[in-house]
């Protein structure tokens, strides 16, 4: 099955019942699949007039209590940024799948690149936290889409599935578990007027006063208090918002942003890679091990919030770290900061951006023949 199809199946399995889209490559197959699946389960597929409207309608649908998602690629992801910030500010759970392609601008529509990593983190204006997951297989397009919904619901926040063209378009085996074996989480919803009144800004996540229940919820992207009431001129109010959004997410980084370690325990050299780059890296590790080179892989599955503690712990006893990204080093500063200072840390882009790293090219760096 293709990664994009697996993403759609994951969304439906997670309970997604609203999907809005504006056509873009290489995310198109997610929409095709959603348009087939959703009507049969009374879910809405709607093609909006642009990506701004797609994320806008997702936010609206989420406030009626539905699990809602949109999918796009770089140009559309850029257009969505303002409303992603709105979703953060108003604590609106939703999922945004960004199938990264080569950019900037229109770029190459069907070539892999990881150019949106920093945009995912800081693309909307203002100070905020975001959750972003990076699948590296078709299986993870399924698994992490479910996880994205669970995190969105649990923390009442937008969650980004930061896929790339390779994982979205590759076809490989995907195991779809029995429905009852999946963990599916749903948001806490206000059940009485008292709960509903304090519907915002709790570090432990306030129950959501969804529309149509008689709670007269007030939802605004303006600075507001825990009652949702506009506090448009009090610095204390925006201070509380920024700190509460941070407190809702950052202390739970370990649970949100998991990392995978492959043959890392006895490794001298650690590769660090995520998304499709991790596939090459894993191949290199297995190949190098056959040649007796002690190399391992650290794969951040959640990129944001960045799992600095986990990375530091995992890399504390290696001698060298090589970071593989299909860009010029977007996650690298975070990794470099987390690695102990006595460990040599190198960044390695593919020879030609928007192609995958060639294993023999990476091997030269692993062997120390190139720096």
């Amino acid at each position: 099955m293709q990664g994009n199809e697996a993403c759609a199946l994951g969304a439906v399995a997670a309970g997604c019942r609203f999907f809005a889209f504006y056509p873009i490559t290489p995310a198109g197959e997610i929409a095709e699949k959603m348009s087939q699946l959703l009507p049969k389960i009374r879910g809405v597929y709607i093609q909006m007039e642009d990506e701004i409207a797609a994320i806008g309608s997702v936010i609206g649908a989420s406030w009626t209590g539905l699990k809602a998602m949109t999918a796009t690629s770089g140009p559309g992801f850029s257009l969505m940024q303002e409303n992603i910030g709105y979703a953060v500010m108003t604590e609106t759970p939703c999922v945004i799948v960004d199938v990264q392609r080569a950019g900037p601008s229109t770029g190459i529509v069907s070539a892999p690149m990881q150019g949106d990593v920093v945009q995912a983190r800081h693309g909307s204006h203002g100070e905020y936290e975001i959750i972003a997951l990076a699948p590296s297989s078709a299986q993870e397009m399924f698994d992490l889409t479910i996880r994205a919904f669970n995190l969105a619901e649990q923390y009442r926040t937008p969650v980004i599935v930061l896929a790339d063209e390779t994982v979205a378009h590759m076809r490989e085996e995907v195991i779809i578990p029995q429905e009852d074996s999946l963990t599916i989480l749903s948001r806490k919803v206000s059940s009485n007027a008292e709960d509903a009144a304090r519907g915002f800004l709790s570090p432990s996540v306030a129950p959501m006063p969804i529309f149509g229940k008689g709670f007269a919820a007030h939802v605004t992207g303006s600075s507001h208090d825990e009652y949702g009431m506009r506090q448009a001129s009090a610095p204390e109010a925006i201070d509380k918002i920024v700190r509460t959004i941070n407190q809702k997410i950052v202390p739970h980084t370990d649970q949100i942003s998991s990392i995978e370690k492959i043959m890392l325990d006895d490794a001298d050299v650690a590769l660090v890679a995520y998304g499709s780059c991790a596939r090459t890296a894993e191949y290199v590790v297995k190949h190098a091990r056959k040649q007796g080179i002690e190399v391992g892989l650290l794969r951040p599955i959640g990129l944001w919030p960045f799992p600095a503690e986990g990375v530091r712990e995992a890399l504390k006893s290696v001698k060298r770290v090589i970071v593989l990204e299909n860009n010029l080093g977007q996650l690298f500063p975070e990794i470099e900061r987390a690695v102990p200072s006595n460990v040599e840390t190198t960044f390695l882009a593919p020879e030609i951006l928007a192609t995958l790293h060639r294993p023999d090219y990476v091997m030269k760096y692993v062997r120390g023949e190139a720096h």
């Binding site: 009626t64 149509g212 229940k213 007030h218």
Partner: protein, 280 residues
């Protein structure tokens, strides 16, 4: 001893406690529009919990937000129609009403307006058209008359203004009406018509901004501005016999379109049944 008699405005049940004082300037048309809308809601007997207001960014967004004791989604600038589309599709039982200004729905959000009209999704858009950007300081808008001096057209506006109702009619709007804040009774009647129909509705309310618009035309008294609206207003019947030249600077008012076409969420409901039957 008798307890003091509590006198409450008949529409106070719709007003959020603690949301006063309101934020509008003295003489603003928003108060008239707010009361007209609440009267319409009251007269058609729409329960509060069935209503969702979606507000744009600009002075008109502050009509419901946070003034009305009703579920309110105060959206990003230009996007309330997109947000409202999601609310209506998410829960078609809700009556979803957008309050936004001319800049919001026809400049930054023009695309959403024409597509909502084309889709005939059953949201109601109340567009407060003051022909200027009021909140940000009186800049020229797509609705500002040609030649007019504003804070950003100190030598006069070069561009032709949008006729918003015509725009929505051309986009396929199934209910389109325009009144000014002078025409309160007819405005309430049109709001009731909008609230009791299934499809998309666009209600353009020409409204006074004495602070930014009035002073540019030499009428800073809001009552005088409404008298000016009265004088400049032409009914659709009379407008039919006038030339384009004669209509320059006039407000053609009336109910322009009122037709029933299948509404989008009803079509979705049918689609679900067909898809479920087809998949079995």
């Amino acid at each position: 001893m008798s307890s003091p008699v509590e006198i409450a405005h008949p529409l106070s049940k719709y007003i959020r406690k603690g949301a006063q004082p309101h934020t509008h300037c003295s003489g603003c048309g928003n108060g008239i529009i707010a009361q007209s809308f609440l009267r319409a809601v009251d007269e058609v007997g729409l329960p509060k919990q069935k209503l969702v207001c979606v507000a744009g960014i600009g002075c008109s967004g502050w009509i419901p937000s946070p003034f009305f004791d009703i579920d309110t989604l105060h959206a990003t600038h230009g996007r309330p129609i997109a947000f409202a589309t999601g609310v209506k599709l998410g829960n078609p039982d809700l009556e979803v009403v957008v309050f936004a200004g001319d800049g919001d729905v026809s400049a930054i959000g023009g695309n959403h307006l024409i597509h909502a009209a084309r889709r005939n999704i059953g949201i109601k858009v109340i567009c407060v058209n003051n022909m200027i950007y009021g909140m940000t300081g009186g800049e020229v808008a797509p609705t500002t008359p040609r030649g007019m001096k504003t804070t950003t057209t100190p030598f006069g506006n070069l561009e032709r203004p949008f006729d918003l109702s015509k725009l929505v009619i051309a986009a396929g709007g199934t209910y389109v009406a325009r009144w000014t804040t002078y025409h309160v009774a007819r405005l309430v009647a049109s709001m009731k018509n909008a609230l009791t129909r299934n499809g998309f509705a666009f209600l353009e309310v020409v409204s006074q901004c004495p602070v930014h618009y009035g002073r540019r035309i030499g009428i800073t008294n809001p009552v005088e501005m409404m008298r000016w609206f009265q004088k400049q207003s032409i009914t659709t019947e009379r407008a039919r016999e006038m030339t384009e030249q004669e209509l320059l600077g006039k407000f053609v008012v009336g109910e322009f379109v009122n037709i029933e076409v299948p509404e989008l969420t009803k079509l979705y409901a049918d689609l679900f049944e067909a898809a479920i039957r087809g998949s079995n």
